[in-house]
C-alpha cells in the first residue's frame, strides 16, 4: 500500500441546503472554529447524510459565510451543506436544532435553488448596546456621521492595519427598543443606549469593534461596560431605503 488514500464509497451531492442560525447568550463567546466543530458533530447526531470530500482526511461538505466575530451575538448566521440524499428542510431544522447546544439555535433551513449565496451578503445590521449617557452617545454618533473619513487601526493576521471605517457605515441611529429575539434584559436599564448600525461588507471588513473604535475616536464616548453587539440581519442591501433583504428570498421564489 502506497500513500494513496483508501478507497471509499463517496456519494455525490444530491441536494444543497442553506441554514440560518443564531448565536445567543453565553454561546456568543464561541469562535468560528468552535462553531464549526459543534456543527459537524450536530450534523452527525442529527443523522444528516452528509457528503464528504475525498482524501486521507475526508471533510463534510459545508461552506461557511461571513461569520460574526467571537463575543458578538447574531440572529443571522449562514451555512450551506451538501447531502447525499434529499432531506426535508423543516425536519432538518428541528433535528439539527435539537442536536446543537442551547444558544446555537437553528432558525430556518431551505433547499438551495439559486447560486452565489455568499455574494448576496452585502451588508449587516448590527445592534450595539452601549452603557453610556445618551448625550455622550448622541454626540459621538453625530461627529462620526459628520466626518467623511475615520481611520481606525486594527491588528490583523498580516500585522497592524489602518483603514477607513466611516465610508462603510450607511446608517447609524439610536432606537428605543432592542430588536433581539431573546434579549438579555426584559427592560432596558437606564444609562444604556441601543444603536442600530448598517455596515456594508467591504475589504478589509469593518467589524463592530471598528465601529466602536471610530465612535470613541471622534467623540468623548467611554462605555461603562463592555459593549454588547448582536447581528440582527445580513443580506442584499437596498441602497435607497438602506435596508437589508432576506438572502433566502431568491430560493423561496423558485420553490
Amino acid at each position: 500500500m502506497a500513500s494513496k488514500p483508501p478507497e471509499r464509497n463517496l456519494a455525490p451531492i444530491a441536494q444543497k441546503l442553506r441554514v440560518r442560525y443564531a448565536k445567543r447568550g453565553r454561546l456568543r463567546f464561541s469562535s468560528h472554529r468552535d462553531f464549526q466543530r459543534a456543527l459537524e458533530r450536530a450534523l452527525r447526531r442529527a443523522g444528516v447524510p452528509m457528503a464528504y470530500s475525498a482524501g486521507f482526511s475526508p471533510h463534510p461538505k459545508i461552506s461557511y459565510s461571513n461569520s460574526a466575530p467571537t463575543g458578538v451575538a447574531s440572529e443571522a448566521e449562514y451555512v450551506e451543506i451538501g447531502v447525499t440524499r434529499p432531506c426535508d428542510p423543516s425536519k432538518l431544522r428541528d433535528e439539527l436544532d435539537a442536536a446543537l447546544p442551547e444558544g446555537l439555535d437553528v432558525i430556518e433551513v431551505i433547499e438551495a435553488t439559486s447560486r452565489d449565496f455568499s455574494a448576496r451578503l452585502e451588508a449587516s445590521l448590527w445592534e450595539m448596546e452601549i452603557y453610556a449617557p445618551a448625550q455622550e452617545v448622541a454626540e459621538a454618533v453625530e461627529a462620526l456621521l459628520g466626518a467623511s473619513e475615520v481611520l481606525v487601526e486594527r491588528m490583523t493576521k498580516s500585522g497592524k492595519r489602518v483603514f477607513d471605517a466611516r465610508s462603510a457605515i450607511l446608517l447609524m441611529e439610536s432606537v428605543s427598543q432592542s430588536a433581539v429575539t431573546a434579549p438579555a434584559h426584559t427592560q432596558m436599564p437606564p444609562e444604556c443606549v441601543i444603536l442600530h448600525v448598517v455596515v456594508r461588507h467591504v475589504v478589509p471588513s469593518v467589524r463592530p469593534d471598528d465601529v466602536l473604535t471610530a465612535l470613541k475616536q471622534v467623540g468623548t464616548l467611554e462605555p461603562r461596560k463592555p459593549v454588547r453587539v448582536t447581528r440582527l440581519a445580513q443580506g442584499p442591501l437596498t441602497e435607497v431605503s438602506i435596508s437589508i433583504e432576506d438572502p433566502f428570498d431568491p430560493d423561496r421564489v423558485l420553490v
Binding site: M1, A2, S3, P6, R8, N9, R26, L27, F29, S30, S31, R33, D34, F35, R37, A38, E40, R41, A42, L43, R44, R45, A46, G47, V48, P49, Y52, F56, S57, P58, P60, T70, G71, R85, P86, C87, D88, K91, L92, E95, L96, A99, L100, P101, E102, G103, K225, P226
Partner: protein
C-alpha cells in the same frame, strides 16, 4: 439547607451558612470580564450533555475541579464519570470547575469575582464539597489559586463553613505534600468513593451537622478509606527522615485503604460524554476498555496502583461506543486503558467496531498500545474507516539490559517486526517513547535509542520501499513514584539528564544515512526535579508549594509558566531549618528501613514484594505478567479479596445494531 437543630458549639457556623443565599449565579459579574480575555468560551459552560440542577433540590453539593486549563480538564474521563454519577443521585448536585488562566485570574481579583463553576456559574465557596482530581502533582499550585479565588482558607485547619476539600486521582496516593491544604484524600477508583462520601455528608447535614466540621471529618475517617491528614501526626528523626506517622485520635484507623471498583460492566460511565465547544486536547469520545495493568513495568505508578486488571466485556464496550457516538457526534472513538491492545478480545472488538462503523467516517484509536500486542490485523482494522491516527509505541528503554531493569519486556525484534507491519500498512511516521534517568542507566543505554531508531528507519524503508518514512523519538525524564518498586531509587539530577540527552542528540544528528529521518523531542531535566519533590515529598514540601505559589507559580505543567528558579528559591526558603533539601527528596536513594511518607496509605501492594521487585530490578531480573503466568504475589488480590477479571467471554461476533433511519430525509 435543611439543618435546624444543632449543637451549641457550632451553631454560629450554621447560622452563617443560612444567612446568605448560596448557589446564586455569578455569571453577570463574570460576563463583563469575558470580552477582555483570551478564549472566553472555556469559561461559559453550556456544553452538550452538561447538567444543571436547581440548587435547592439537592442536599449535597459538589464542585468537581480538574486543576488545569479547561482544554486539558474538560475531556478528563475521571471528572466526567463522577459528574454524571453524582448528578444521577436525587439529593446530590455536581458542577465542574477548571483553572482560570492568569489573564482572567487578575481580572477576577480586581473585580472581586469569586471562583466559579462552569455549569451554573455558582461560587465554589457555596458548595459542600470541593473534589479535586490530581492526575499529576503539577496541579498543586493551581489548587491554591482556586482556593484563594474561592475565598476558602488555604489551610484545612482554618476552615469552618467552607467546602470540604477532597483530593483524588493518582497523585493522591501520596497526598502528604498537600496534607495541610486538603481536608481529605481518597485513594483509588472514585465511583463508589464519591457516593460513600455523599451519603456520609448527607446524613451529617440531615442530622443537623453534629460535631460541626470535625464531626463529619471523623465520620469520613472512621470508614478506613478516606484519609483525613489532620488526624495524623508525622514525627521526624534527627536526620530528617520520618520516624512514624500516627493517628492523633484514638478512633481513626492507622492505615487507609484504596477503593477498587469490581465489575466495570455495571458502571458504564460516562453515559452521556460532554462535548466541549472549546477546542480541547482530546477531540474524541473515550471508552475505558479495562482498568489496571499487571505487565509490571517498574517505573509505572498507574500500573501498580490500579491493580488488579478488570476488563469490560466487548458487548458492554460496543454498547458504550454506540450510545456515546449517538449522544455526542464525535468522529473518533478512543479505546482507553493503560495498554489497550492487551484486552483479551481486542482483535474481535476492533473487527466488530470497524464493521459496524464502515462508511460512517468514524475512526478508532488505541491511545496506549504495546509493541508486542500489536499486529497487522489490528493495524488494518484501525485504519479501515475514517482518518488514520498516529501510532505511538513505548519501548521506554533503549537497551535490552535497561528494559530488564524496568521490566518492560519488549525485544528489539518485537519492535522491528511491529514497525515493519505499521510502515507496510501505510503509516509513514511512527512515534517511539523512551525515558531518561532510569535506575542503573548509563550513557550507553541512552545511546542505544539512536541505534534502535536507525534500525526502525532501515526496516521501514525496506517494508515500504520508500525513502520518506519517519520516526519520532520522544523522551521524558524518569521520576520515581510512590507505591512502585522504584520508590526507593535515586532520581537522576537534571544536569546529568541533560548531558545524556545531548549525547543522544549528537548521535542521531551526526548520522548521515538516517539522521534526517529521525525526529527527537525532549524536555530538559528541570521540571522532572520539581515533579520529583512533589511525588515523593512529605508534609514539609507543603511549605514549598505555598511559598512558590505566593511567589507567582501557576500552571506548572506548562513550559511558558514553569520557572525552575522560582521553585528552587522557594524550596530553599521553605525548607530552612529542616535539615533537608531538594536533593534529599529527589536524588537520594532510600533504604528498606526508611519510613516513606505514604507508608500508611495502602495501595494493596505488599511492601516486601515491592522491595523484592526493586532488588530484582537491580539484578536485571524480569517478572512476567500474572494474566498468563502464575501469580507473583504483589499482594493486591489477597489484600483486597479480589482477583483479575479478564476474558475471553467467548463472544466473538457482536450483534449489529439495526441501521438508523435518518430522521431528516425527504419522503
Amino acid at each position: 439547607m435543611t439543618s435546624q437543630t444543632v449543637a451549641t458549639s457550632n451553631s454560629d457556623n450554621i447560622d452563617a451558612r443560612q444567612s446568605r443565599d448560596r448557589g446564586i449565579s455569578v455569571f453577570p459579574q463574570l460576563e463583563a470580564l469575558l470580552p477582555l480575555i483570551s478564549k472566553p468560551i472555556q469559561y461559559v459552560g453550556g456544553e452538550l450533555n452538561a447538567v444543571t440542577k436547581p440548587w435547592d433540590e439537592a442536599i449535597v453539593h459538589w464542585a468537581l475541579m480538574y486543576p488545569d486549563a479547561y482544554e486539558v480538564g474538560a475531556p478528563n474521563q475521571g471528572v466526567q464519570i463522577l459528574y454524571e454519577i453524582l448528578n444521577e443521585q436525587p439529593d446530590v448536585l455536581a458542577e465542574r470547575t477548571y483553572s482560570v488562566w492568569p489573564d482572567l485570574e487578575a481580572l477576577m481579583r480586581e473585580h472581586q469575582v469569586p471562583a466559579f463553576t462552569v455549569d451554573a456559574h455558582r461560587s465554589v465557596a457555596d458548595f459542600d464539597l470541593l473534589g479535586l482530581s490530581f492526575s499529576t502533582e503539577l496541579g498543586y499550585t493551581n489548587m491554591l489559586t482556586a482556593l484563594s479565588l474561592a475565598n476558602i482558607p488555604l489551610h484545612a485547619v482554618d476552615r469552618d463553613d467552607h467546602p470540604i476539600v477532597v483530593a483524588g486521582g493518582h497523585a493522591a496516593f501520596n497526598p502528604e505534600p498537600i496534607a495541610q491544604f486538603v481536608d481529605a484524600a481518597v485513594l483509588g477508583d472514585g465511583e463508589e468513593a464519591v457516593l460513600l462520601i455523599s451519603n456520609i455528608v448527607k446524613a451529617w447535614i440531615n442530622a443537623g451537622r453534629p460535631g460541626g466540621r470535625e464531626g463529619v471529618l471523623l465520620e469520613l475517617a472512621r470508614t478506613g478509606c478516606v484519609y483525613i491528614p489532620q488526624f495524623y501526626d508525622v514525627e521526624y528523626l534527627p536526620d530528617g527522615r520520618i520516624k512514624r506517622v500516627v493517628p492523633n485520635r484514638a478512633d481513626v484507623p492507622s492505615r487507609i485503604t484504596k477503593f477498587t471498583l469490581m465489575d466495570l460492566d455495571a458502571w458504564p460511565y460516562p453515559k452521556a460524554p460532554l462535548v466541549p465547544l472549546a477546542e480541547t486536547v482530546h477531540e474524541r469520545m473515550s471508552v475505558e476498555i479495562f482498568r489496571g495493568c499487571t505487565r509490571g513495568c517498574r517505573f509505572c505508578q498507574a500500573g501498580m496502583i490500579t491493580r488488579p486488571v478488570r476488563e469490560r466485556s466487548i458487548t458492554s464496550i460496543a454498547e458504550m461506543v454506540e450510545n456515546g457516538l449517538e449522544k455526542t457526534g464525535f468522529e473518533e472513538v478512543g479505546l482507553l486503558s493503560l495498554s489497550s491492545a492487551d484486552h483479551s478480545e481486542i482483535g474481535d472488538l476492533a473487527r466488530n467496531l470497524a464493521d459496524r462503523y464502515e462508511e460512517t467516517q468514524t475512526s478508532l484509536s488505541l491511545p496506549s498500545t504495546r509493541v508486542d500486542a500489536f499486529n497487522v490485523d489490528l493495524a488494518n482494522e484501525l485504519s479501515r474507516n475514517g482518518r488514520r491516527s498516529g501510532l505511538t509505541f513505548a519501548p521506554e528503554g533503549g537497551s535490552e539490559r535497561i528494559r530488564r531493569v524496568i521490566n518492560k519486556l519488549v525485544s528489539e525484534e518485537d519492535l522491528i517486526r511491529t514497525v515493519t507491519t505499521a510502515y507496510g500498512a501505510g503509516w509513514r511516521n511512527v512515534k517511539l517513547y523512551f525515558m531518561c534517568g532510569l535506575p542503573t542507566e548509563t550513557d550507553e543505554d541512552i545511546l542505544q535509542i539512536a541505534t534502535m531508531a536507525k534500525e526502525v528507519i532501515r526496516a521501514g524503508r525496506e517494508a515500504s520501499g520508500r525513502r520518506d518514512i519517519k520516526c519520532t523519538v520522544s523522551i521524558g525524564g524518569f521520576v520515581p513514584k510512590p507505591h512502585t518498586p522504584f520508590q526507593w531509587a535515586a532520581q537522576l539530577d537534571h544536569e546529568a539528564t541533560d548531558a545524556r540527552l545531548h549525547k543522544l542528540k549528537d548521535a542521531i544528528r551526526n548520522d548521515k544515512e538516517f539522521g534526517k529521518a529521525i525526529g527527537l523531542r525532549y524536555h530538559d531535566g528541570k521540571p522532572g526535579i520539581v515533579e520529583g519533590i512533589l511525588s515523593r515529598g512529605d508534609r514539609r514540601v507543603g511549605n514549598i508549594i505555598e511559598t512558590v505559589w505566593k511567589n507567582g507559580a501557576r500552571f506548572d505543567g506548562w513550559g511558558e509558566y514553569f520557572s525552575f528558579d522560582r521553585w528552587m528559591e522557594s524550596a530553599q526558603y521553605a525548607l530552612e531549618g529542616t535539615g533537608v533539601d531538594v536533593d534529599w527528596f529527589t536524588t537520594r536513594e532510600r533504604d528498606y528501613t526508611e519510613v516513606l511518607p505514604w507508608d500508611h496509605l495502602d495501595s494493596g501492594l505488599d511492601s516486601e514484594w515491592l522491595w523484592e521487585d526493586w532488588q530484582d530490578a537491580l539484578a536485571e531480573v524480569a517478572v512476567d505478567d500474572c494474566r498468563w503466568t502464575p501469580c507473583f504475589d504483589c499482594g493486591v488480590c489477597e489484600q483486597m479479596d479480589t482477583e483479575i477479571q479478564v476474558g475471553p467471554t467467548g463472544v466473538t461476533d457482536l450483534p449489529m445494531p439495526s441501521p438508523r433511519v435518518s430522521p431528516v430525509l425527504a419522503q
